[in-house]
């Protein structure tokens, strides 16, 4: 929900579509409830076992491995009294029950969310903890804690669709998160909103108080987003909340009027409007203007005044003052209505709401010490038990799905420690297989070799493992929300390999010698291709062939150069040219354009 009145539409012009590497090595606060609500709405018709767990599992791995982010998961605490009341009111309004029957929650007791949802949150929190991700519990709103961590610099961005986060102090919000696209992140920065709209945090709080939000659905009756925006912009950030307090108490006389009007207005001017001629519209009388033209009408001396055109507006001093006076009256009236609406609202503005938004104590840690945010290693055995119990996944399947996370952690740890050299105690780094292009970005396909496999027992192990995976795959539905690439299983002469897509910088830092060797091999391949091509051109030359072959680029200038990096390792070699009979001698001579005669250049319109 968040701020009402199409608040996101107001911010839409300031959305930034960020690319694939936007979150690499960035700490990201994730509102876990938001992740759980989304699949339950989208996958209601599908019979997927515990979609909230499935989505959280695969999405966490994508966030961690594919995008290189460091997620911090935030769990909701108890909702505030105001939010409980607002939620109950919304429920009653939707169900058509009379508002008179609205129950008043007991003082000090807030209604918890429904038990099913709470258990889902608890399960997901347990899952991400087993995956090694930090989980923090908020005192109240999860987005409040997300925003506080962002504001205080503990995280770099928040993933939430709740616009409240800006009011709680967030600086960078990722509203949409679509892993299957080239620009997966729809990002909003507070600095852009300040620069573009002139709104700071307290301005946004004032707007939410006027328009309505999660804690007070209606806001002030009769005030919409445009009116609120217009009013709020007139004050500085430090002033705006004080002004709302004064208006709420009815002290409108102290509020300075926004429009500056000249102070030299004569009190009697409305009553002293000059009489105007009904013929030409200028000051004077019609009788006088029949004889002599007035000074406003520029005509010959022998003619009278000109008839006034339609939509005529007199621009004499008196009428100008009169119009300004009317405009001032209209604005004063408008402000009076505005202030009156605010004053009519009981207990406006609510200090509880303002204090909630401005509070910087949303988590169970004090300002002196930082929150406990540490990314550890996943607990594989507990994960296998957890997922086997909840999702009925086989241990082999869990290990295979977990492999990208283990390989990513392994590659990161390689730059700091060299304690362990195998993954799951079975697989070790073998080589860089090739470069892979996904959504316009390049990845290394890394080959992981199974270590220490006995030759005698390789056949039954491999077959049973493959059959198991095939059986499990049939049960898995295609996930509509997330794209996940399981590691490829590759068998080669008695050894089994796993192939994963890894970040190029990460692999380069972990195994620099291997990467260098890979690039050298690519270079050798390219040279070999060009060598074989030139060899074809140098086939047995005919003794009678003594002509020089010209180059097509000498005749036609290059107009557009597309410098895009070639996809290496996947270029197929050219088919042998068997059509040439004997092959002619090819001497490619790079002659300068000056060699081309003038007539030729003139004909080609080079000059």
């Amino acid at each position: 929900m968040g701020v009402g009145g199409n608040f996101w539409d107001l911010l839409k012009p300031y959305a930034r579509k960020e690319g694939f590497d936007f979150l690499r090595n960035k700490r990201v606060a994730v509102d876990l409830s938001f992740w759980i609500v989304q699949p339950e709405n989208a996958i209601k018709a599908m019979h997927v076992r515990k979609p909230h767990l499935r989505l959280t599992f695969f999405r966490t791995i994508s966030l961690f491995c594919k995008f290189g982010a460091l997620p911090v998961f935030i769990v909701d605490g108890s909702p505030s009294l105001l939010k409980s009341r607002a939620r109950i009111a919304r429920y009653f309004r939707c169900s058509g029950i009379e508002l008179a029957n609205l129950p008043v929650p007991e003082e000090g007791v807030s209604a918890e969310r429904n038990r099913l949802f709470s258990s889902h949150v608890q399960e997901c929190a347990e899952l991400v903890e087993l995956l090694g991700m930090p989980v923090l519990k908020a005192k109240g709103e999860a987005e409040a804690l997300c925003a506080q961590l962002n504001s205080e610099g503990h995280v770099d961005a928040c993933i939430t669709a709740d616009s409240d986060a800006f009011l709680f102090g967030a600086k960078c919000i990722i509203k949409c998160f679509c892993p299957n696209s080239k620009e997966p992140f729809e990002c909003y920065n507070m600095s852009d909103i300040e620069a573009g709209l002139g709104l700071k945090r307290k301005h946004l709080i004032a707007i939410s108080l006027l328009v309505g939000d999660d804690h007070d659905i209606n806001g002030v009756r009769g005030i919409g987003l445009d009116t609120a925006l217009h009013f709020v912009k007139a004050f500085s950030e430090d002033d705006i909340l004080n002004r709302l307090h004064e208006i709420g108490k009815g002290n409108t006389s102290q509020i300075p009027i926004c429009i500056k009007v000249e102070d030299n207005v004569d009190g009697n001017s409305p009553n002293r409007k000059l009489s105007h001629c009904s013929f030409c519209g200028h000051p004077g009388s019609k009788k006088d203007h029949m004889k002599f033209p007035c000074e406003y009408c520029v005509t010959k001396d022998d003619e009278g005044c000109q008839r006034k055109p339609e939509d005529f507006k007199c621009d004499c001093f008196s009428c100008d003052m009169n119009r300004k006076h009317k405009e001032k009256k209209r604005l004063e009236n408008q402000h009076t209505i505005f202030f009156h609406k605010i004053a009519e609202e009981p207990n406006f503005p609510k200090d509880e709401i303002i204090d909630m938004y401005l509070c910087n104590d949303n988590g169970y840690f004090s300002a002196s010490d930082s929150p406990h945010i540490v990314w550890g290693n996943p607990n594989i055995e507990m994960l296998i038990n957890f997922l086997n119990f909840h999702q009925h996944w086989e241990p082999a399947y869990v290990r295979r799905m977990m492999f990208p996370m283990i390989s990513t952690i392994f590659l990161r740890d390689m730059t700091t420690t060299t304690v362990e050299t195998t993954l799951f105690g079975q697989y070790e780094f073998d080589s860089v297989e090739r470069v892979k292009m996904r959504y316009g970005y390049q990845f290394f396909v890394v080959k992981w070799k199974r270590a220490g496999v006995n030759i005698s027992c390789k056949v039954p192990l491999k077959e049973s493992s493959v059959q198991q995976d095939d059986a499990i795959e049939l049960d898995e539905m295609v996930d509509l929300l997330d794209d996940f690439d399981a590691p490829e299983i590759h068998g080669d002469d008695g050894c089994s390999f796993l192939l994963t897509d890894e970040n190029m910088d990460l692999v380069g830092a972990a195994f620099p010698a291997e990467v260098k060797r890979f690039w050298q091999e690519q270079e050798l391949k390219r040279i070999k291709n060009s060598t074989s091509r030139s060899q074809e051109n140098e086939k047995s030359p005919s003794p009678n062939s003594r002509s020089i072959q010209l180059n097509i680029t000498e005749f036609y200038p290059s107009t557009k150069v597309k410098h895009r990096q070639s996809k290496q390792g996947e270029e197929s070699s050219k088919n042998a040219d068997s059509q040439g009979n004997g092959g002619s001698k090819m001497k490619r001579k790079m002659s300068s354009p000056d060699k081309i005669p003038k007539s030729v250049r003139r004909r080609l319109l080079f000059d």
Partner: protein, 266 residues
């Protein structure tokens, strides 16, 4: 997104067969006006330009200008799976790294779906100016293919000379020489069997026959071929593609190293 639907799918098959021998990889450029390609062979001696105008497609949707890099051999393998009477649809999403070819049999009882990976190809685009030609020859494409094939069994270069008598194709090799003269011939019953020569100035140019033979792979596309020549400029060999475009081959000439020995007898 991009979506092109071609009822006469065999045209696309023939196009690929005609250019895949010359070019390994190429960028297909799609815009609102049509589907086009420009690519050079690996030694930069020949250039191929293809245009399929959007009006020639039954359905043509191109939301924004896009460029798709493809390996032409792989693409030809995909199109081989289409029947000669199939309807071919090409689809690609914006920013996608794959292209989809859909083949529908005329009776719609068989629909095939092939997806091919795209490549990022570093390519150069040459500006081809409008040029006036000294001589233009229009002749049956099968005749031209036959001439190139016959001459390549004798030598490896061809001298094309155009005079008022006609067009002469000459070659010289270890075993001897060969000359083929085609006179202007406009009195035949079928217009596609005519040989028409427009000459403003006599022309004589030398070209590598292996490239000419590669060009003649486009013979199935059109009954006639148009050969445009100017002295000291590349030759243009053009095949029309039904009513919807053309494929043009440009070939740089050869310069005689020793004028005395190889000057052709006019």
């Amino acid at each position: 997104m991009l979506e092109l639907r071609l009822v006469q799918g065999s045209l696309l098959k023939k196009v690929l067969e005609s250019i895949k021998e010359l070019v390994n990889d190429a960028n297909f450029d799609c815009s609102s006006t049509g589907f086009s390609l420009q690519a050079m062979d690996s030694s930069h001696v020949a250039l191929v330009a293809l245009l399929l105008r959007s009006e020639g497609f039954e359905h043509y949707r191109c939301d924004r200008n896009t460029s798709m890099g493809m390996n032409l051999n792989n693409m030809a393998k995909m199109l081989k799976c289409a029947g000669n009477d199939d309807i071919i649809t090409i689809k690609a999403d914006d920013g996608s790294d794959t292209v989809t070819f859909m083949f529908e049999s005329p009776t719609q009882d068989k629909i095939s779906d092939f997806e091919m990976k795209l490549m990022d190809i570093d390519s150069e685009h040459l500006g081809i100016p409008e040029a006036e030609y000294h001589a233009i020859v229009k002749m049956p494409s099968s005749e031209f293919a036959r001439i190139c094939k016959d001459l390549s069994s004798i030598g490896d270069t061809v001298v094309i000379s155009i005079t008022k008598e006609g067009v002469k194709f000459s070659t010289k090799g270890d075993i001897g020489t060969a000359n083929i003269v085609c006179r202007q011939n406009t009195s035949v019953d079928k217009p596609e069997e005519a040989t028409v020569i427009e000459m403003n100035e006599p022309v004589s140019l030398t070209f590598a026959l292996r490239y000419m033979n590669s060009f003649t792979k486009a013979t199935p596309l059109s009954n006639t071929v148009t050969i445009s020549l100017s002295n000291e400029l590349p030759v243009v060999v053009e095949y029309k593609i039904a009513e919807m475009g053309y494929v043009r081959f440009y070939l740089a000439p050869k310069i005689e190293e020793d004028e005395e020995d190889t000057k052709p007898q006019v």
